[in-house]
Symmetry: C2
Subunit: 191 residues, 2 copies
């Protein structure tokens, strides 16, 4: 059984909390005013917008040492919808890993719309959570939480692949914003 | 009715030729030894590996002026499977557009495995061809060829979005090479 801390109570935070408990794992959630409450989970999900991550790291870097830190962000430039705000040859996840050198950072959930996490399906396919990271045990721990809830987890490779996952998240959000795909659909993975 | 020239007779060239004729449009195909045979289609599909594109441009730049030139390549570094061979802030399609300034370059088909183009489905979803380009008429002409064959076409935006499409193609090929998705599956688009 895994204990999961989720910082952020928006659509994605709520959907991930639902997934965790559905699989029989335990969850604690944090709003932005819970600064004084320490995280106790071995997995900590940063379920906040990309712009809010630096503040959380500033507040909690010590608490996050050794933890599996899950970056779900899509660092889209929402003013233009035409670029990411991270360097083209890097990723938000790489930035978090650099800021938290002792944490085991994984990229996950950024290619899943919240509705598909709650439903467990995307179209007729099981919802698939793509997970990238450099620590195999960290990825396996998170994958176990995902599969316990009845969803699929796919190891997408090293944390370097967060670049492609963020590109996919950006493309998917852009297509949904343009009404080319549904906010309850998007890219499904056909195994 | 559109007339489509397809340069390259590999799996992808054959699958796209099949798609064109299935929709009642006409096709002419070119092998690497057909250098002296001019292209006559208003759409020209470069169905060759990325490394072969420069040679075709050198041979046929004049013939491609004004044409809808379809770039289907995934410029993956197949020696490492860890990067693309184009700059991170650009794309193979942008390179082709730069080399063929009077052609109307679109990116398409690079996110579709050949089997899904032939089947017309990916899992239970209709196969969706994502098309990026700066010329709306060019995209619409190609989309018409795709939808005539019973597949879906989605306008993925400006040619700048080729970067995300190539990133998606790279991710999908990597997952298939690692046996995480099938070569007859991959990313399906749920509208």
């Amino acid at each position: 059984m895994a204990h999961v801390s989720i910082i952020g109570t928006g659509n994605m935070g709520a959907a991930i909390a639902n997934l965790v408990t559905k699989g029989g794992n335990t969850v604690e959630t944090f709003t932005s005013s819970d600064v004084a409450k320490p995280v106790t989970g071995e997995i900590v999900v940063l379920a906040v917008p990309h712009a809010a991550v630096a503040g959380i790291i500033a507040e909690r870097a010590g608490q996050l040492a050794g933890k599996v830190v899950v970056d779900i962000t899509n660092p889209v430039d929402f003013a233009t919808f035409d670029d990411l705000v991270v360097p083209a040859d890097s990723s938000a996840a790489a930035g978090i890993a650099s800021a938290l050198p002792t944490a085991r950072v994984v990229k996950a959930f950024n290619t899943n719309f919240a509705g598909t996490l709650v439903a467990g399906t995307n179209g007729t396919e099981p919802t698939t959570v793509l997970i990238a990271g450099d620590d195999a045990d960290a990825k396996a721990l998170l994958a176990g939480v995902v599969t316990a809830a009845g969803l699929r987890a796919v190891d997408a490779g090293a944390l370097k692949r967060a670049r492609e996952l963020e590109s996919l998240g950006f493309l998917q959000i852009g297509l949904a914003a343009a009404e080319k795909v549904s906010w309850t659909g998007g890219f499904a993975v056909v195994a």
